[in-house]
């Protein structure tokens, strides 16, 4: 775990970075009933792992909106933890949401950013940041009370209980290895998931 330091370039080709699937499995292990919001690179493995059956919303139909959807859920269901499984490219589309989340300061929002420096689904083009941007620093500068980075599965497994014990909002950048083999997945229509989540929450 590193609170400080740059997240530039070099890490995205490292051999020791955690795999996306490892991060997915660990987040599921420590979920403990939290509402999950996935988008883009986390959506298919979260679904294929069987983690979308209840208290879940998938936001790939609106790239960039996972953080804002998560904020609305967290403000509206303050008695329940909300975990957003964001993508780096996706978060960049609504980077200002970091500021809005910090301003609203939802104590139950946990913001995980799968960070591999590439637009994975469209063919692994580099992000506009070219590896020079730092989500941990961005979150802290926006006003998140806590932000940290994990680069290995062991590290993530160790810190997740501490993360979920903190008051949010907390951002965790997950430095993951580039993955050229993520399965294509058509997803579930968002309207169905909205109805299901309202049913799970008893608000339908």
């Amino acid at each position: 775990m590193g609170d400080e330091g740059p997240s530039r370039g070099h890490r995205w080709n490292g051999d020791d970075l955690m795999l996306k699937q490892e991060a997915i499995d660990l987040l599921a292990k420590h979920r403990n009933g939290a509402i999950s919001v996935t988008t883009m690179q986390s959506a298919a493995p979260w679904h294929l792992g069987g983690h979308t059956k209840s208290f879940h919303l998938e936001a790939s139909a609106c790239m960039g909106s996972a953080s804002s959807l998560g904020l609305g859920l967290a403000l509206g269901a303050s008695d329940r933890k909300v975990m957003v499984l964001d993508g780096d490219g996706s978060l960049m589309m609504q980077l200002g949401s970091l500021v809005t989340i910090a301003g609203q300061a939802p104590r139950n929002l946990y913001h995980f950013v799968f960070s591999n420096g590439h637009y994975e689904s469209s063919g692994n083009q580099p992000l506009p940041s070219n590896g020079r941007s730092d989500f941990v620093a961005l979150a802290k500068a926006a006003g998140y009370p806590a932000a940290l980075r994990c680069t290995t599965a062991d590290e993530l497994d160790r810190v997740l209980p501490e993360v979920f014990a903190k008051e949010g909002p907390v951002l965790v950048e997950l430095a993951i290895a580039r993955d050229d083999a993520t399965p294509r997945w058509a997803g579930v229509p968002m309207a169905e998931m909205v109805r299901k989540l309202r049913s799970d929450l008893g608000t339908a």
Partner: protein, 175 residues
């Protein structure tokens, strides 16, 4: 030709009255990228605890937060301006329309010359707003003066009945 002495087509609605109309709907949250045309309504809304006023960076965020609050059992709405509607078309499509989320919007006609009809206004953000809403199948009503206030409730109810977007267009600055 000057228009300064022309009779107004749109008359400003008292911002406190507009805010009271919002409160009467049972709105729990007003999510806003503040709109110059609705300044006095925002001031009135900010003066009470309910509905809660949420300031956000972009209209895209407003759409997402609106959905999250709806899912968790609240009754939120958006207060934005015409340029903001143009800025969030993708989220309007994906969240309000495709995900079937009630999304009531008060949209201010920023840049409107109130002495002219909307169609006669030369600024694109004014005369292209309604065609844009039409293109996406978003129902709307014009608020051109105090007599149009009942249309606020009508569009709010439309959004909830259809589980989708509906707009009330604030034609000139609230007073």
């Amino acid at each position: 030709m000057t228009t300064t002495n022309a009779a107004p087509v749109a008359v400003g609605i008292d911002g406190r009255v507009l805010a009271d109309a919002i409160r009467a709907l049972g709105v729990t949250h007003v999510i806003t990228v503040p709109d110059t045309m609705q300044k006095t309504a925002i001031e009135s809304l900010a003066s009470t605890a309910t509905p809660k006023l949420l300031y956000v960076c972009t209209e895209d965020e407003a759409m997402g937060i609106n959905a999250g609050l709806y899912i968790t059992g609240h009754k939120p709405m958006l207060l934005i301006q015409n340029n903001g509607l143009f800025a969030c078309i993708n989220t309007l499509k994906a969240i309000a329309l495709d995900a079937q989320v009630p999304t009531f919007m008060l949209i201010g006609q920023y840049g409107r010359d109130a002495t002219k009809t909307i169609e006669a206004n030369t600024r694109r953000q004014v005369h292209r707003l309604e065609p844009t809403l039409d293109a996406w199948g978003v129902p709307f009503e014009r608020l051109e003066g105090p007599a149009d206030l009942p249309k606020v409730r009508a569009m709010w109810e439309r959004a909830w009945e259809t589980k989708g977007p509906a707009a009330a267009i604030v034609g000139t600055a609230t007073t």
